[in-house]
């Protein structure tokens, strides 16, 4: 049975029930997850999931139902359930849902990659992880070494009552590791290439080869142990320089989430929260300094980010939206339902679902700060900084439910003195108010220092949906930032 035939069972039934709109997503997903701990395989697993999700608009309200059973009777019952749910939704509404127009597309697209990660052998994958593990534990003082590698193939067939038929396959690859050192009354950790799972991109196995995992392991382990002898990060107001991965997370939390239009409109008020970026601030708010240019770019031109695709899960083509232009707030992440709220006649194409059993909601695509136009290496940035603190690799992150007040901790820091990196600092942290922070940015490194980081675990929605997002960033400098609050008074 073809996927189109299965979708037609659903669309025909919803049509008979007189819905004003329906779409069907059939998703076939495969994952491989490998991990090691202290010289042994921690877990090795393979999973597959195939199912159908049916979304309908009836009586001006949404309904959605999903099943893993792709027999005709199950699909039709699920479609009927979606209609029943929509009609129930319509009992509590203030107005009818209105969708921005979108022309139907028939298309096929797949993530470009050089090596299918699933074609690589598990032996090869585990061997690499165990070589990293060996390097980490070669350093005296390391009490725990963990590594991981993950592949995901996500194939989706999208059909809508408006005539779209889109077949899209996304491939994601990721890997990373963390070394821990416990001694006395402190536990320190260092991660590479990033914390909380490493680096993830929509790429093939070539990403793993590019990451130079083994080559960096000893340095990371040595830094982890050295943190026990490092001085505590001081408290006070300082100039700080952030590495690109920490800046990527700063973008995620203090730009990416507040620009989600569903959040702005109160649709996430009970759980993920709302946003300080109320509608009147569009094209009025000075979000950051003149150097701050941020885009939401889902197109292939932006790179192989976790937010790169051809069409979103409403069948809207990938787009690049200017979010902050020379410091001015210029754009939101929108959907077909919400576009009208900002006077737009088209969705920004940001609706994505975690899987076949979830509805699409507004998600970050690749929310990236553009690199500086003038050539500026990391070394030149440090040389240009008389006094400050350089912070690297996130350790903790927290921000209020309107995305004003944030606090971040990093795994490691170094004092900057006289244009040079000096003594190592443990437990660095910084905090502030979103717009004050971005307005304090006075330097950002150029394109050659820019990395498109992947955040594979962004949570939003009820039921909770986990989504991958991309964040490009270069190291950047911020003036007069509050440092050290995390340990103040504790």
């Amino acid at each position: 049975m073809s996927m189109k035939q299965i979708a037609e069972w659903a669309l025909n039934l919803t049509n008979q029930h007189g819905v004003s709109y329906a779409d069907v997503r059939i998703v076939d997903e495969r994952n491989r997850a490998l991990a090691t701990k202290n010289g042994r395989v921690g877990h090795a697993s393979d999973s597959t999931s195939l199912g159908i999700g049916i979304r309908v608009l009836a009586d001006g309200a949404w309904g959605f139902a999903a099943t893993e059973d792709l027999t005709r009777i199950a699909v039709e019952m699920t479609a009927a359930k979606a209609v029943e749910i929509a009609r129930s939704s319509a009992r509590v509404k203030q107005h009818d849902v209105r969708l921005a127009p979108e022309k139907p597309f028939t298309d096929e697209w797949a993530t470009p990659y050089r090596t299918d990660p699933f074609s690589t052998s598990v032996e090869q994958n585990i061997d690499l992880l165990l070589r990293v593990d060996k390097e980490l534990r070669a350093i005296e003082g390391i009490t725990l070494a963990e590594t991981n590698m993950n592949f995901r193939r996500y194939e989706q067939w999208f059909f809508s009552s408006e005539g779209s038929s889109i077949h899209e396959t996304k491939m994601t690859t990721g890997a990373g590791y963390t070394a821990y050192a416990f001694a006395g009354t402190e536990i320190h950790k260092r991660s590479y290439p990033n914390s909380f799972g490493g680096q993830y991109q929509n790429k093939g196995y070539e990403l793993i080869e590019e990451l130079k995992l083994v080559e960096n392991a000893r340095r990371i382990a040595e830094e982890c142990v050295a943190l026990h002898k490092a001085d505590q990060c001081p408290e006070g107001n300082f100039t700080i320089v952030l590495d690109s991965s920490q800046l990527g997370l700063q973008i995620h939390e203090s730009i990416g989430h507040p620009i989600e239009l569903d959040r702005v409109l109160g649709m996430e008020a009970n759980f993920a929260g709302m946003s300080f970026l109320t509608l009147e601030k569009l094209r009025q708010l000075r979000y950051g300094s003149d150097l701050v240019n941020v885009v939401a770019d889902a197109t292939r031109n932006h790179g192989p980010g976790l937010g790169t695709f051809a069409y979103d899960d409403e069948g809207v083509p990938a787009q690049c939206t200017p979010i902050i232009t020379d410091g001015l707030f210029t754009g939101y992440l929108s959907s077909r339902e919400t576009a009208h709220a900002i006077g737009s006649n088209r969705s920004g194409g940001t609706m994505r679902a975690e899987g076949w059993n979830r509805i699409p909601i507004i998600r970050m695509t690749n929310i990236s700060i553009l690199p500086g136009e003038k050539p500026l290496t990391f070394e030149q940035l440090i040389a240009d900084t008389d006094r400050g603190i350089y912070m690297q690799t996130n350790r903790s992150w927290s921000i209020d439910d309107k995305r004003y007040n944030f606090q971040f901790g990093t795994e490691i820091g170094w004092e900057i003195k006289g244009g040079k990196l000096g003594r190592m600092l443990k437990n660095p942290s910084y905090s502030g108010i979103t717009t004050e922070f971005w307005n304090s940015m006075d330097a950002i490194c150029s394109r050659d220092q820019w990395t498109l980081w992947g955040t594979p675990n962004c949570g939003k929605g009820q039921p909770m949906q986990t989504m991958g997002t991309g964040h490009g960033a270069s190291p950047a400098r911020f003036r007069n930032i509050k440092v050290g609050s995390a340990y103040k008074g504790t």
Partner: protein, 461 residues
């Protein structure tokens, strides 16, 4: 719903495809539905049905897992083959034990947690309840947001050593946020039995909080006496129980490294893990099918015991830490194998102060000269793993207390607070209740009055 017999039939078919020394199947899934509302409108409304079978095979100390949501012979065969292929390429793990046997699961405490009234709830019934919540919002000129969900789920573990554990239960949950112009209030409740949920009461309390906290004032950051409602307590303390597993000590990643057997909290803190408690939920067996035991984790501030999966217990007994961590034995708290985490207690029950000493939140407020009432916390993250310093924000109903009364709403605070410090400074507690938050799993906790809670910053609302 997938029955016990059906689970056995699936397992029988799996075994035919396997050449492994041992085979184990974890079968889980069910039906769930969630009605979501915001701006006084149902804006998302979903339902799903899904079951998975997760197959673990073992060859001479080597093990791996493969999962599928398809139950035809070919899909099951592919899952078995995938699991075997992953297992065979590994080095043997000397710590891997033979699978648990039926003797390990027999005697699991009976828990009746499946209710027809919950599983049969319709979209129309959920919409009706949401309508009542929205009407309360409209009456108070507020805006309502939240969810009403219900589900019916099954969990089964079967293996080639004859173990067959099966559990089915229902769940229901209502969460309500009421929004005013510059304030908000929140309430949440869940239960296996939907008849225990009262949407109107939750909405009225959330609305009252939103109205009372209007025109919030700004208080300076600093140390305050706080009264934490149960949801705020559970979202904080939930961060420490992942460290109460034996594996966390073996990995030296626990804040209990060198602290088991010592007094780390106040005299009034006693904590159990108890799956059979009447306010708890979940299966009475763990990820290997082993029956869960009732374990006293903390007694009068002293950490008494940890929980163990079978292999962790063996490893601990052979380790240098064996004499320093209290009794060591499998307790039925393991996660499905293979995993790196080991185990954790997930049915937490705080012991209350006794009926005569228990104080309700209102009584705590009345006895507080100057302090802060916290309804809910948000975006809590660990700042320091050994001192267990957490950061996060207050949210949806934060009040100034003065001279024994709620004075007004206040702007939300950021805190940086050590759990060791906090649980050593609990001045009063109420009767423990089944609480539900957003940052941690549900547990049975009391409201707490805590002195010197450390607020470090104030946000703009």
């Amino acid at each position: 719903m997938l029955t016990r017999d059906k689970a056995s039939e699936i397992f029988e078919r799996l075994t035919k495809f396997s050449t492994a020394d041992e085979i184990e199947a974890l079968i889980a899934g069910g039906q769930s539905a969630l009605t979501r509302f915001a701006n006084n409108t149902i804006h998302q409304n979903v339902a799903e049905e899904n079951y998975v079978v997760s197959v673990r095979t073992v060859f001479e100390g080597r093990t791996a897992r493969a999962t599928t949501n398809k139950f035809d012979d070919e899909s099951l065969k592919q899952a078995v083959l995938a699991s075997e292929a992953l297992a065979k390429v590994q080095e043997p793990d000397p710590d891997l034990l033979p699978a648990a046997g039926s003797e390990d699961t027999d005697g699991a405490p009976p828990v009746g947690r499946a209710f027809f009234e919950t599983s049969s709830l319709t979209p129309g019934q959920r919409a009706q309840a949401v309508d009542r919540i929205v009407n309360i919002a409209k009456k108070q000129k507020l805006t309502a947001a939240g969810i009403f969900s219900n589900s019916e789920s099954v969990e089964a573990v079967l293996n080639s050593r004859g173990l067959a554990a099966y559990h089915t239960q229902t769940s229901s949950e209502i969460s309500v946020t009421m929004l005013g112009g510059d304030s908000s209030g929140w309430q949440k409740s869940n239960s296996p039995d939907v008849r225990n949920l009262n949407p109107v009461a939750l909405a009225e309390t959330a609305a009252k909080k939103a109205l009372q906290s209007a025109k919030p004032r700004e208080l300076p950051a600093g140390k305050y006496t706080v009264i934490l409602e149960p949801a705020a307590v559970l979202d904080l303390v939930g961060f420490m129980f992942w460290d109460f597993g034996g594996m966390a000590i073996l990995d030296q990643r626990s804040f209990l490294n060198n602290r088991v057997g010592t007094k780390v909290f106040g005299e009034n803190i006693t904590v159990w893990d108890d799956v059979s408690h009447s306010l708890q939920s979940g299966a009475p067996f763990d990820g290997e099918g082993v029956r869960r035991q009732r374990v006293q984790l903390v007694e009068k501030g002293v950490v008494k015991r940890l929980v163990y999966a079978r292999s962790t217990a063996k490893k601990m007994l052979e380790s240098e830490y064996a004499a320093k961590v209290g009794p060591v034995e499998p307790t039925g708290h393991g996660f499905p194998l293979p995993n790196e985490v080991g185990e954790a207690p997930i049915n937490i029950v705080f012991e209350g102060p006794g009926q005569s000493a228990a104080k309700g939140v209102d009584q705590m407020i009345a006895a507080t000269e100057r302090g802060v009432l916290i309804t809910r916390l948000w975006y809590i993250r660990e700042v320091d793993p050994y001192e267990k310093i957490l950061t996060g924000m207050t949210r949806d109903g934060t009040f100034q207390i003065e001279d024994g009364q709620l004075k007004n709403g206040i702007r939300n605070f950021r805190f940086n607070e050590s759990l060791l410090h906090m649980l050593s400074n609990v001045e009063e507690m109420g009767t423990p209740v089944r609480a539900s938050g957003e940052e941690s799993f549900d547990m049975v906790v009391p409201p707490m009055k805590v002195r010197d809670f450390n607020f470090t910053e104030v946000t703009k609302f």
